[in-house]
């Protein structure tokens, strides 16, 4: 590590003094230039376009007409299914995100030890996440939760007879939550990578001081892992608000039973591409953006008190 650094230093005359942030201001933009180009080309225009379209009656094929706030008004006052979709989504976020993250963190902690089998176990836990939202996955999930399938037998054991979880408004959401919990591979891997970044010396020192496992977890693992926990929390929340594929897998995109799996983006997609009301869909999208931004903003705010960046000075 030091050799190339030293060599490079010798090869290059010192042009600038050192200083924490003494770089030329253009450097940041230089590093960001691919991102800036992508943002301008692929996002800024399309996002502004969709914002504009949210105030129109855009139907995909005709020239949009300005209708002011009508889409927004209608959504908030005169659309029962919109309310259903908000409810279904909030329930999904509230149950799905914490359960998935807890499972991912639990398994990551379990796997974070040296063993010849570690690689095999990691791969096994990740395997379910290798399946995309395919027809095969739809059939697999159906086989578990269909009438008289394993899930029915299980709930029968607990004295709660059911006729196929997917059909039951009380349980259909659970089927989807279980699906994302089952596919917890991504946050698990990120937790594992984060755990590996924690210097072993910290644990050794704590052990010497007589700290038990729980104390080490509280005093070292949690704070050192906090940036990664924060990341997983933010990203999984953002993604859960936009859950789409899971509902397609289980209910074929209908949102049934009784709209209990009619997620926000599913309803938005139906409005835009099935009912040809892209103006309304755009309005829904921007309202969702505001909602997510609000929740994410709260998480960011709370982060100041619990997320610690070891690399940075206070």
């Amino acid at each position: 590590m030091t050799t190339p650094l030293t060599r490079s230093a010798a090869a290059r005359p010192r042009r600038r003094r050192s200083g924490t942030y003494g770089d030329h201001p253009a450097t940041g933009y230089l590093f960001l230039s691919p991102w800036i180009l992508g943002a301008l080309l692929l996002f800024l225009g399309p996002m502004l376009a969709s914002l504009y379209l949210s105030f129109t009656d855009y139907d995909l094929f005709s020239t949009p007409n300005w209708i002011g706030l009508e889409n927004y008004e209608r959504m908030l006052t005169d659309d029962a299914r919109f309310g259903n979709s908000v409810l279904a989504t909030v329930r999904f976020v509230v149950f799905g995100v914490p359960i998935q993250l807890a499972a991912a963190l639990g398994v990551a902690l379990l796997l974070n030890r040296a063993s010849r089998m570690s690689g095999v176990y990691r791969s096994a836990f990740y395997a379910p996440s290798l399946l995309g939202g395919s027809v095969a996955l739809a059939l697999v999930w159906r086989s578990l939760f269909t009438a008289d399938g394993p899930a029915d037998q299980l709930s029968g054991l607990f004295g709660m007879p059911s006729r196929g979880w997917v059909n039951d408004p009380q349980l259909a959401l659970a089927v989807l939550v279980l699906l994302i919990v089952w596919q917890f591979g991504a946050p698990m891997v990120i937790f594992l990578a984060g755990l590996k970044q924690i210097p072993q010396e910290l644990y050794d020192a704590a052990s010497v001081d007589g700290a038990n496992a729980w104390q080490r977890f509280r005093a070292i693992t949690v704070p050192m892992l906090s940036p990664v926990i924060f990341f997983n929390l933010v990203l999984n929340t953002i993604n859960a608000f936009q859950v789409f594929n899971a509902a397609f897998v289980v209910s074929g995109g209908t949102g049934g039973p009784s709209d209990t799996t009619l997620f926000y983006t599913l309803y938005l997609w139906r409005k835009g591409f099935v009912e040809f009301n892209m103006g309304y869909a755009s309005a829904m999208a921007w309202l969702l953006l505001l909602g997510i931004a609000l929740v994410t903003g709260l998480i960011f705010r709370s982060a100041r008190s619990w997320v610690h960046y070891a690399g940075e000075k206070k």
Binding site: R16, F241, M284
Partner: protein
Amino acid sequence: MTPARMRRLAWHALVLAIVAVMLYPLAWMLASSLKPSREIVTSVALIPRTWEWANYASALEPRVGVPVWRFFLNTALISAGAVVGNVITCSLAAYAFARLRFRLRAPMFAFMLATIMLPYHVVLIPQYTIFQQLGMVDTFWPLVLPKFLATDAFFVFLMVQFVRQLPQDLDEAARIDGCGPFRIFTLVILPLLRPALITTAIFTFIWTWNDFFQQLIYLSSPDNYTLPLALRLFVDTQESVANFGPMFALSVLSMLPVLLFFAAFQRYLIDGMATSGLKG
């Protein structure tokens, strides 16, 4: 038996028990790839009554006039391109956001998050129009080019979090040695960022490999079709039993490359870390 050995065995037992539950659905999928289509439809039992090895032969037959290896190749090319793009450009952007100071940093970071907060369905058509204007529709470019423009905010943010965990003393030491930001990035940050880079590579590969929606929109000639597209062509609009057996067989086969990719790279997630020698 020593207590340490006992504890190790208990650990293995616990892990294996969870693995068994996790893998049951996948075992069902594997078993289904060996059932006749009709049996898949009429029974949810795990073990096949009839073993239909012919599913695999039939899965490997050409579809829509295109040999199956072509679907694998197309999918692999797109996924590999996406990996290269994401690893390079997302790490550049992450370094800028995490370590450099410039006036528009905060608004730009906020905008980046906004790009993933807006459901993509409403930007789909404007984006399609752009690629259409660029003459890139029905090529792999719309699927790969965005990755070279760091549009995956997920990975930029991921790497920002990891960069911020790296000790700033290192940058400063390198700076005192006369390194500019680019050298600090390549010589100091990148090597230490390896777990995050590997994570990015793994996820990008798998997610691109499985992505159906974007591929459906941008690829229309059968020669350009990918595995996710091919896998949807077993389902008929007709009432008859779809070709579920061969469909499961091809699903299993299409999972193998990603499984191997994961198995091959996952060990770098741990082996690569040398940070224990560094003081925070």
